[in-house]
């Protein structure tokens, strides 16, 4: 992890309540990996006070495109040409060794998996992306490489079918924490049981410090209390499902 000063190149709307911030930070763009994130703040001000968690969405040339909630105070404040103070890369990079990669996301939380899909396709993996996103389906699909097989599910439907789960060598999910028990049930139903190393889930917690000092991202796992910013942000689904912060 190190500090970077990046210039905002562009802002554009994505889907749901998200927009993309394109940042001029070529060295970071070359080094950041799927699963990792950036903490960003406006160096001119303590308002907004806390750093924002930005997940990479895409790399364009030397630019790093990240997703941010368009209603967020930082998103409303910055404009192209402004500088952002970044701490990155943070979090643990994901291994994309599996050939058949299944990605499952709620629309508003889909950005981290879009980046993962892009890198996986570059590595020659077969990728299926399932989004619970009726209204946002076209916009999400436009952000994905054409090689990705894309499906949408309604908000009331289970995210994944048994066929997709049976096909996958690796599953990555980005959804509210309280939905992961159901995901684990689906996987167990389709594959007899949930084995470690098969499915990974992104724990969406605030990460104000990114250094393991504030404990705001503490999550109870089957292996004890873990800090999402240090041990995550993706966890083996088997570690997350027994207990959640929503209990």
């Amino acid at each position: 992890m190190r500090h970077w000063l990046a210039r905002v190149l562009d802002q554009r709307p994505l889907w749901s309540n998200l927009e993309a911030l394109s940042l001029d930070v070529p060295e970071l763009a070359r080094t950041i990996r799927p699963g990792q994130f950036v903490l960003a703040r406006d160096p001119r001000s303590f308002d907004p006070y806390l750093r924002r968690v930005l997940f990479p969405l895409a790399i364009h040339g030397g630019g790093l495109e990240c997703a941010i909630d368009s209603a967020d105070a930082l998103a409303r404040r910055v404009q192209p040409g402004d500088a952002l103070d970044l701490r990155a890369p943070l979090g643990n990079a994901l291994e994309l060794n599996a050939q058949h990669i299944l990605l499952a996301a709620d629309a508003a939380l889909a950005a981290p998996l879009v980046f993962l899909a892009r890198v996986a396709v570059q590595l020659g993996r077969d990728v299926v992306f399932v989004a619970r996103a009726a209204a946002d389906a076209p916009a999400i699909q436009q952000s994905l490489p054409p090689e990705v097989e894309y499906h949408t599910r309604g908000a009331e439907e289970d995210g994944l079918t048994p066929e997709w789960i049976a096909w996958a060598d690796a599953i990555f999910a980005s959804a509210p924490l309280d939905s992961y028990n159901r995901l684990a049930e689906q996987i167990s139903g389709a594959r007899f049981r949930l084995t470690r190393g098969l499915a990974y889930a992104l724990a969406h917690f605030p990460m104000p410090c990114g250094s393991g000092d504030c404990f705001a991202c503490a999550v109870e796992t089957t292996r004890g209390i873990a800090l999402t910013c240090q041990a995550g942000p993706f966890f083996d689904l088997d570690d997350l499902i027994k207990k959640s912060a929503y209990d």
């Binding site: 303590f46 105070a73 800090l227």
Partner: protein, 256 residues
């Protein structure tokens, strides 16, 4: 040198007036590292939301989430052994009897120079400090809530605290989705409150070192705290948002 436990058999000397609440810090010289507050057993923490922002600051309600003092110590003991600055282990508790056994164990951990007791209202402060005092010769820093520091400062010293930290972030509340959420408030706006309380505690002339904590974001903030009676200053959230600024502050205050 700044001595936080004068007249005590085991001293706690700082080479620098800044103490940083963090488990690791290698950006600049500093006086001491203070751990985040730890409890005897692991705690999963509060339900979401744990962080609620408002202009210029935020409300934090972690529910004292932490991996437990044993796991945390085990994870960091090698780094503590090598640390140039002393490690002060911060302890939170719900009952007066939770600290003494932990403190006794920590006294045998290389690098640990003291314990900092976070005194929640409702805790039997005198009993908690006395039991800890009896269990360890580690210097004891009592961290007081800013709201009631004036009321309990004297009894903490009488019970055996070697130094007072003034203080813990003030409590606040925020309404979200029709529900009131309570937590502690952080941000630069805390500085005037912390400075006021510090000056009042200093006026009591309790004959123990005072450590300022609350909203310090600049070298000027730190100097004002020292001018008001503190011998050292703790930095908590400032390094989350501006670690480089805090590193510069460390350099600036090297000569204080």
């Amino acid at each position: 040198m700044i001595e936080l436990a004068p007249n005590w058999k085991r001293g706690l000397a700082l080479k620098h007036p800044l103490m940083i609440v963090a488990h690791v810090w290698d950006a600049a010289p500093l006086g001491a590292l203070v751990t985040p507050p730890l409890t005897a057993r692991p705690r999963a923490g509060a339900p979401l939301p744990r962080v609620i922002e408002f202009p210029g600051g935020f409300l934090l309600r972690t529910g004292a989430a932490n991996p437990g003092v044993s796991a945390f110590t085990e994870q960091h003991r090698l780094a503590w052994r090598k640390s140039d600055a002393p490690i002060i282990v911060a302890l939170a508790a719900q009952a007066a009897g939770e600290w003494h056994a932990i403190a006794a164990r920590l006294a045998r951990v290389d690098g640990v120079g003291g314990v900092e007791l976070h005194l929640n209202p409702g805790l039997d402060t005198v009993k908690a400090i006395r039991r800890t005092r009896a269990a360890t010769d580690l210097p004891i820093l009592a961290k007081l809530d800013l709201e009631n520091a004036r009321a309990i400062a004297s009894e903490c010293v009488a019970a055996g605290a070697n130094a007072l930290v003034v203080g813990r972030a003030p409590r606040g509340a925020a309404m979200r989705a029709g529900r009131l959420w309570r937590g502690r408030m952080y941000g630069a706006f805390v500085t005037p409150f912390a400075l006021q309380v510090l000056s009042e505690i200093a006026a009591l002339r309790l004959d123990v070192p005072l450590i300022a904590c609350g909203g310090v974001h600049t070298a000027r903030d730190a100097r004002e705290m020292i001018a008001a009676g503190a011998v050292a200053v703790q930095i908590d959230t400032a390094h989350w948002v501006d670690a480089e600024g805090v590193a510069e502050m460390c350099e600036e205050l090297r000569q204080v």
